[in-house]
């Protein structure tokens, strides 16, 4: 029994890393038909495969088309498994994220990779796309009551917009965790602008976020206690 599940997990992982959507779908369906746990299959099959994809991308073995195709394979499996994940408080969604590329900037390849990482990790992602008016970030963070705001910029001239958004969001909801990224940014700059986090690549961005989730939880608990 356990062996069979391991086999299916391996199928899911390989289907993702080898961007074979059909193979992933078949394995995902088998997980359900044979009565295995859907959540386990998502985390240790699909997401584990994608983690490997992240590594291959970092090592310049995979490039953007491969990563996007792997993501499609993953989504194929996710669609089948997701409706069967039991909502258990200990497995609760990690939080909601608003993400976008700032106004005047169409470079969204990197942003899409970061978005992907968040989705796979179980965050609810509100993607505002590219060339996003600065006010839109502020509005969306407030209206969706998101825990994270992620902004991307690839041009030195457009990245300045991030600082404005950070200032405005801070005024309205100081608890939102803000992350910034994109080639011209540095951790130093992110800090100076008052962002909570910076990520040099997509896997790194997710790690940062997960680190912050911890402190977010504590914050919510504090708030609940304080009433």
């Amino acid at each position: 029994m356990a062996d069979r599940f391991q086999e299916l997990l391996e199928e899911l992982r390989q289907g993702v890393t080898e961007y074979d959507e059909e193979r992933v779908k078949v394995a995902a369906q088998a997980v359900l038909d044979e009565g295995f746990d859907a959540y386990d299959a998502v985390m240790n099959g699909l997401a584990a495969g994608m983690e490997e994809v992240g590594r291959l991308f970092g090592a310049n073995e995979y490039f953007v088309p491969e990563v996007l195709m792997c993501a499609d394979a993953l989504y194929g499996g996710l669609e089948i498994l997701r409706p069967h994940i039991e909502v258990d408080p200990s497995r609760q969604v990690k939080g909601a994220v608003v993400i976008g590329t700032v106004e005047g900037d169409v470079h969204d390849i990197g942003k899409n990779l970061v978005k992907l990482m968040f989705e796979i990790a179980g965050f609810t992602v509100h993607d505002l796309g590219r060339d996003v008016p600065l006010e839109k970030f502020v509005e969306e963070v407030l209206s969706t009551d998101s825990d994270f705001l992620c902004m991307s910029a690839m041009m030195t001239t457009t990245m300045g917009g991030m600082k404005q958004v950070i200032d405005q969001v801070r005024q309205k909801n100081p608890n939102v965790k803000i992350m910034v990224g994109g080639a011209p940014l540095t951790g130093d700059l992110a800090q100076r602008w008052g962002a909570d986090g910076y990520g040099k690549d997509a896997p790194n961005a997710l790690q940062e976020a997960l680190r912050m989730v911890g402190s977010l939880r504590e914050m919510h608990q504090e708030a609940a206690k304080g009433g």
């Binding site: 490039f63 953007v64 996007l68 499609d72 106004e103 005047g104 969204d108 001239t157």
Partner: protein, 341 residues
């Protein structure tokens, strides 16, 4: 001094004929408008893209003020997309420098990419051609006039949704080749229209195919054949420019049929020179932002010297000159090459 009597145009054209120049020419085939040029033309950045006269004057300014050795129009990457029926946002209400962006890309299928029969008459292609004519009329004897078009992959990515196009590149090579062949036709015909208007050289910009995005293997199978087609169809001196990571594809770039190859600051120019050998024309690779905009004049000088020492046949910035470049840095860039000679 023999060089003093040569015009900028003579120097650049001689270089394209493979006669190395001393001092090493400083120019580029990408946008080189500055805020001073916009001031000279009395126009805002958002408006300059739609006005041939202002475009010509703003572009000429980098030569007139600093001695930059080429005048290049246009300044944005949306000309092809517009000619293919897409709309651009030029951020008309913003007074900062925001580059135009394509608003309504189409789903990435070959059916959605059809070359209009009257391509040369569409969008701003006639306007850019007119700007070339104006510059040519006024300064054509003194300075090289350049223009640029997008490479097939980058061009397709401005018309079709890029993430879908990237997936198609991995999944359906047959359809991808159809799209790239059509995009190559657009690039070649547009380039020929600019040459007919008087452009001395045309640069093909294929930034979407850098190794930050596509694997070198995909570059070989998918990108290179179509670049070859384009260069086979365009007469006169041509340059292939790719910004981003190019170390692993520079040899293939040099084998596409362009007169010269240009790379950006991510490339180790000395290593590329070693790979390509002494004959190939190799341009590069001044960092247009960290050095030209943010550096001190002394840092600019040093960077120019490094380009030359690494084996650049012409000092080219890695991308468009960023309009807010300080005047003293433009000057330092021009002086450095002359001082070194």
């Amino acid at each position: 001094m023999a060089t003093a009597t040569k015009t900028a145009r003579e120097r650049v054209m001689a270089l394209f004929a493979r006669e190395r120049q001393t001092p090493v020419p400083v120019f580029s085939g990408m946008g080189n408008v500055t805020v001073y040029g916009l001031e000279d033309a009395g126009i805002g950045f958002a408006q300059v893209h739609g006005d041939a006269e202002a475009m010509a004057r703003a572009a000429a300014s980098s030569y007139e003020r600093f001695g930059y050795e080429a005048v290049v129009v246009p300044f944005d990457l949306g000309v092809e997309a517009e000619a293919m029926g897409r709309t651009l946002n030029t951020y008309a209400s913003s007074d900062g420098i925001l580059y135009p962006t394509v608003q309504n890309k189409l789903p990435a299928t070959a059916d959605n990419f059809q070359v209009p029969a009257d391509l040369e008459l569409r969008g701003r292609i006639p306007l850019v051609a007119q700007a070339i004519r104006l510059v040519k009329e006024r300064l054509g004897e003194q300075v090289a006039v350049g223009s640029y078009v997008l490479g097939p992959f980058t061009l397709a990515g401005q018309v079709l949704e890029l993430d879908q196009l990237l997936k198609l590149a991995g999944k359906d090579q047959t359809q991808m080749h159809v799209i790239l062949e059509r995009a190559g036709e657009v690039a070649a015909r547009e380039a020929e229209a600019y040459r007919a208007a008087g452009a001395d050289f045309v640069t093909v910009r294929e930034m979407g195919a850098a190794s930050d995005i596509l694997s070198p293997r995909m570059f070989r199978n998918l990108i290179q054949p179509h670049l070859k087609e384009v260069f086979a169809q365009v007469g006169g001196p041509t340059v292939l420019h790719i910004c981003g990571s190019t170390q692993n594809i520079v040899e293939m770039m040099a084998d596409c049929g362009a007169t010269a190859v240009s790379v950006d600051q991510k490339n180790d120019l000395a290593a590329s020179r070693a790979t390509l050998g002494p004959e190939k024309l190799l341009f590069g690779n001044l960092d247009p932002y960290k050095v030209l905009v943010q550096g001190t004049p002394e840092q600019v000088r040093e960077a120019v010297r490094n380009c030359v020492a690494a084996g650049a046949d012409a000092v080219w910035p890695g991308c468009d000159i960023w309009p807010t470049v300080p005047a003293e840095n433009m000057q330092a860039m021009m002086d450095a090459s002359r001082e070194q000679a």
